[in-house]
Subunit: 181 residues, 4 copies
DNA sequence: TATGAATGAGTTTTCATTCAT
DNA sequence: TATGAATGAAAACTCATTCAT
């Protein structure tokens, strides 16, 4: 899985052959197929790993006993840090999801939606409480933020000038500022 | 090109075979290769089309004789509308750019950077003039906004509740609100 | 024809496409096919050119009014010089003859045999006259010499240490020495 | 390999498609590519087989404990017999070597040179010892002889009048006679 | 006399997956 | 639990030649 992750991130899912994965990881083709039903399964596992991680963290942050602004800010920043910390997984996620078989794709989308909705609930809560502006529909606000998270894989470089937490703080800050009433 | 655009958007670049393109468009393989040197060229042409269009529009909006807030807002909204109006091109762009041959990819990236820089200059101008907050580096602001633009191809549906211009107004609004000092 | 000759010599007949020939020579495909019926025809023309040249020169040398040792020596040396002077043609001849269409190949072989026989006649004449050894059948003697001529294209380099005439003298000398009774 | 050898000899390397090889040998394309990395590899293997065989035999003959005339004569005759015995391999060698990929071609050429040099050393030894004429440079002598060996594939027919050993004796004889001081 | 777009069969190679061992 | 040889369909691309203009 580690090898597959690296290769998928480097050259893309379709551009990585099973042959290359087994060669790079020193196992045989038979062994790989003994543990994974298909190349698709490998991809699916990678998704599952990231999805579970992020869902879990979001649940923690969103359910904390703190004011909603703070909970949203922390959740918004955390997803940035987590994404950067798992940049390969994230890159594969954002670039190769549509290469998954339809039924698995549907499943991932469903889990993704749950994640989106938990996040949206936070925004709506703040809007109801009057601490966030209602100028923009909550759905759009969430897509706005996640757009910037997905975009990280296109520009963030570990050796760049900004540490993950700095980027996270800036992006969360932008979100919160945009939501000021 | 129209057929290729549609198919690339539908199933992805790697998943679309030249055979499928020629069958769907009613030309022969030989004819296609008479006009395009490679499958890659086809992709490159699609990129060129979108890049030229967006660069041109940005230049117009950014160079207008208006206050910087207004110029940024209009540019930010326009790229949203243009992206939605060319959703297939945009989807191909954001999903398949890394499948382009290295040298062509570099070329696209260079043009893309020019675009990014023109946009950033607007933000910096507003920051210098004191109309935009300097809390966030301009670069990050631009990536924040373009994140949401790229993300459009993942969620925007022409038959959804929001018209392109509405989405554009909302997203530009979020940007401008985030930049309030 | 000049371009085709160069390209065929450089990369071989099968490896040279008609497209490359027309591009390198600045004519169009239509024009080429206006003057040559097929790619094969081009090759055949190149052969004809060399065959006619060599046959003509052999006839001159073999028919001269001189002792047979001298006529053979001069003919043997001349074919070496002529081959070196037309190294591209010769290379194509020796390497690509079997890529010619069967009927044309037969025709070339027939002309080649005539050439071989004229040369053999010289050897036989000398053997009858007692100036050449009869230890080796004349046919084999001719093949021995032409082997070394064909081989020139594999090792002779115009910028090497030996001038064409020097090589020719050495090879003719070897032949004549081998034929000493 | 046997099928490929036959087909390459019959119609040339470029004229033989992988499809034809697998059909004629009753294996699948996938199986062929499981064992050979490319069509080129197949050719390279054929070369290697012949090169190893001839180098080994030359080493044996040249290193024998006999007078140099005898060692040269036997080596010269043996390469003829070996070439005739492996006429398909030899034909492919002499006709298709330049169709090999550049790096592999270089490798073959290097091994070929080693062979040439061992042979030349014999000639030089005889020249130093005064048993061979020094009229012709040893290099040229070697090329003279190998020309006739290469040429065998152009004229020798197993059903012709001369047995391999007879041809070998005649050609070795011609060489030795040419070298008489 | 010349153009160059178009053809369609052909090329080599790759690939995910299977299965006897 | 693991091997690795084998499959067969599909991939991108090439090519000599034709033909309407």
């Amino acid at each position: 899985m580690a090898t597959a992750t690296r290769l998928f991130a480097e050259r893309g899912y379709d551009r990585t052959s099973v042959q290359e994965i087994v060669e790079a990881s020193g196992v045989t083709k038979g062994a790989l197929y003994h543990y994974f039903g298909s190349k698709d399964d490998l991809l699916h596992e990678i998704y599952g790993r990231l999805l579970r991680l992020q869902q879990e963290r979001l649940d923690t942050f969103a359910g904390a006993d703190e004011p909603v602004e703070r909970r949203l800010r922390e959740a918004a920043a955390d997803v940035v840090v987590t994404t950067i910390d798992n940049l390969d997984d994230a890159m594969i996620f954002f670039r190769s999801m549509h290469q998954l078989a339809p039924e698995k794709q549907q499943q991932v989308r469903t889990e993704r939606r749950r994640y989106h909705e938990r996040f949206r609930a936070l925004v709506e809560e703040g809007q109801r409480d009057g601490v966030f502006s209602t100028a923009t529909p909550a759905d759009l606000v969430v897509d706005y933020h996640f757009g910037s998270v997905h975009h990280l894989v296109s520009w963030y470089r570990p050796d760049g000038p900004l540490a993950p937490q700095e980027v996270a703080d800036h992006l969360a800050d932008l979100l919160l500022r945009a939501l000021r009433p």
